[in-house]
Amino acid sequence: MSLWTLRGLRSGQATTDWPQKADGDHGQHGTLGMPRITAEHCGDECRRCAQTCPTQAIALDTRGHLAELDYGRCIACQLCVEACPSGTLQSSEAWAFGVRERADLEWSLEPRPLASQQLAAHIEKSFRGSLHIRHVDAGSCNGCESELQALNNPFYNLHRLGVFFTASPRAADLLLVTGSVTAAMQEPLLATWQAMPEPRRVLACGTCAVSGGVCGGTYASGNGLHGILPVDIWLPGCPPNPAAIIEALLLLLERKPQRVHGGRPHER
């Protein structure tokens, strides 16, 4: 045992200084995120992006141009980017897509008037420095779990941010749900939520939990948390990478600003 301790000490610090330092290493270099919509270059009757999208995230107008893209349905599979001949849809590294209002994931050609931003505190002050999470897998592919488990590896070291996973829902402040909510997981999910003390928050982690993802709407799979639990943060991604999950948690805690409004990401 002592050998392990020495070995650990010798190997030094592995933890990134991101996100405290904005230019620190978030570990996601080279990964592709949600497609970027640059401008309106669509050709008439093109329709390729909508036809190729496996989760029906894209809606077209009467000319066959891109009119709406719901990032809450997007699995970042890049098929639309590869199909797009005009450069309207381009690959990007944008992954920090956590939002408070589901509508903020919906891009439309004509920007919709945004819901008035609530200025009142969303979150109790006591959560800000210490958040305890109860995770429930409501029918995921295990990709989200793999990235959630990564949060506690030495690189991300989630504890340093005052965020912890807890075994008992009785000790949890946040219910973090992955998966599309299968028939069999609906009851255990609701029972976990009911066992949590108030105030309690809910984070829909991954496109499955946001909208059902690739398997939503089969005989056994629901369409995510909409209509099942009151969601505080919607985080699409397939799966959202560990840095995206950290951003979403800090957004919940009001320690980071929301980076996407009306389906339009802002620069940092």
Partner: protein, 494 residues
């Protein structure tokens, strides 16, 4: 590309099944899986996949299920028990003489649900009811935990009948995560289905995508360019590396080596970050497609150096684990899976190889660029947790070896060939995933669309075998034993 056929298709009458199975078993062969599909409306056919002895092509036995009844083969080949129960639940078939005829995946009231039109949201009552053995001794207690478990875990329920520290009987209750994802493929374009296959089991994204693509390529009888086949091997071996390193992190955690856990998880993270930089996605999704790759992968000039540095770190970590007596003490003799049980119950991957069964799809039925690579297959005989860990450690080294051999051989050129599955055809694809043998069977309809996709995940096989190592064991060993199997649930439940 070998000259001999990869797969032989044989029509078998229901009353000839038992005899054919006996012949297979007597000659050292083993069943691999079975599934149902509908060649015509209201006519079900069951396809049994059999692996005869080494060096022989796989066999598919096609058997019409007259009046939706077939004889059960589960008494002679116990590993078929779960496949038959799944067909019973999802396709409404009956297997006469089944030793455990209870629902497995969904409730009996939902029999045949995979063939029914979808109406409204899924019903919570879909879940298969719990069937437990009758216990007469009042001292025996029942402990149930899950489906929501401590820490970040996949959902499943585990039931222990125990007396003090002794576990008398153990029953895992799976399929809480059953998504009906196989039906999601139906009616779709075969070329687009890979995106879905990659999302059946996140930590097996490459293996699932690869097995799916190869099944479609089999139905199209098309040629995949060499560079694409080589890059597929690179992705598949990186997937094995991060999975096996995750495994050692989890095993160190179960044996309370906190630094060992942290180091394993950090090494896993390093491979995932490398995978992200190489492929654009940490699980290496969104690269594969039938016919090759969606886009070329630029292999950086410093990749051999990066991997060599990582290999040194991994080697030092594995050696340190091997030198840790408290770790070895907890693994040696824990959770013994005998060779006979491993064979009969269908254990696969590192789990079966740790019980002395010498099988690996990469070597026995080579695909992608494994045809040109020497795949060493590490084995152990003891079948305990230590043997399972040793086999995985040796496999980590083999993965590094394979990548080192592959990189200098990488060809330039196209990464995608034409792939058009023939109408009314079928194909079979497979991969040796980090957890064992993975099969995809695809059926193409008369219009060239997917009519049926069957997925056989390695964890479906290993969850079946795992309880045999828990009965008559003790509570203290359970977490270590479970970690030593390295089970995942999403692919099993689908």
């Amino acid at each position: 590309m070998s000259m001999s056929p990869r797969v032989e298709y044989i029509q078998v009458a229901p009353d000839a099944l038992q005899e054919r199975l006996a012949q297979l078993l007597d000659s050292g062969g083993r069943m691999q899986m079975a599934y149902a599909w509908l060649p015509r409306p209201a006519l079900a056919e069951v396809r049994y996949l059999a692996a005869p002895g080494a060096g022989q092509p796989l066999q598919v036995w096609e058997c019409r299920a007259e009046h939706a009844h077939l004889p059960s083969l589960a008494l002679r080949a116990p590993l078929l028990g779960w496949y038959e129960r799944e067909m019973q639940d999802l396709y409404g078939l009956t297997f006469d003489g089944h030793p455990e005829p209870y629902p497995l995946v969904v409730d009996g009231a939902a029999r045949g649900i995979a063939l029914m039109p979808i109406e409204g949201p899924p019903r919570p009552s879909l879940r298969a009811p719990l069937v437990l053995p009758e216990v007469r001794d009042p001292q025996v207690q029942l402990l149930s935990f899950g489906p929501v478990r401590a820490d970040v875990m996949e959902s499943a329920q585990f039931l222990f009948f125990y007396l003090g520290e002794a576990v008398m009987h153990y029953q895992p209750r799976l399929f809480f995560k059953h998504r009906g994802i196989e039906t999601r493929f139906e009616g779709g374009d075969p070329l687009a289905g890979c995106v879905l296959a990659e999302r059946v089991s996140g930590v097996g994204s490459v293996a699932h995508g690869l097995a799916y693509c190869q099944a479609v390529e089999d139905a199209a009888d098309c040629v995949v360019p060499l560079r694409a086949r080589q890059l597929r091997v690179l992705l598949a071996e990186l997937e094995r590396l991060y999975n096996h390193l995750h495994y050692f992190g989890a095993l160190a955690d179960a044996t309370t080596l906190k630094v060992g856990q942290a180091e394993g998880r950090l090494l896993e993270e390093k491979i995932k970050q490398l995978a992200g930089r190489l492929s654009g996605q940490r699980f290496m999704r969104n690269v594969l497609m039938p016919g090759g790759l969606r886009r070329d992968i630029a292999v950086p000039a410093d990749l051999p150096d990066t991997l060599s540095r990582l290999r040194n770190e991994v080697e030092s970590y594995l050696l340190q684990l091997e030198r840790t007596t408290s770790y070895l003490d907890r693994l040696i003799t824990t959770g013994v899976l005998t060779r006979e049980v491993a064979f009969d119950q269908g254990a696969t991957g590192p789990v079966e190889r740790a019980s002395g069964l010498d099988r690996d799809m990469r070597r026995d039925h080579p695909y992608a660029a494994y045809t040109d690579l020497p795949v060493a297959v590490p084995l152990a005989e003891e079948g305990d947790a230590y043997a399972r860990a040793r086999v995985r450690a040796a496999e980590v080294r083999v993965s590094f070896d394979l990548i080192e051999l592959l990189l200098p051989q990488l060809q330039s050129g196209e990464v995608r060939g034409a792939c058009i599955p023939k109408p009314a055809s079928c194909g079979l694809g497979w991969a040796e995933s980090p957890r064992g043998s993975l099969y995809y069977a695809v059926h193409i309809d008369a219009y060239g669309r997917l009519a049926r996709v069957k997925i056989k995940s390695p964890s479906f096989s290993n969850w079946r075998a795992f309880p045999f190592t828990v009965h008559q064991s003790n509570m203290m060993d359970y977490a270590i034993n479970e970690a030593s199997f390295g089970l995942a649930i999403a692919g099993c439940d689908r």
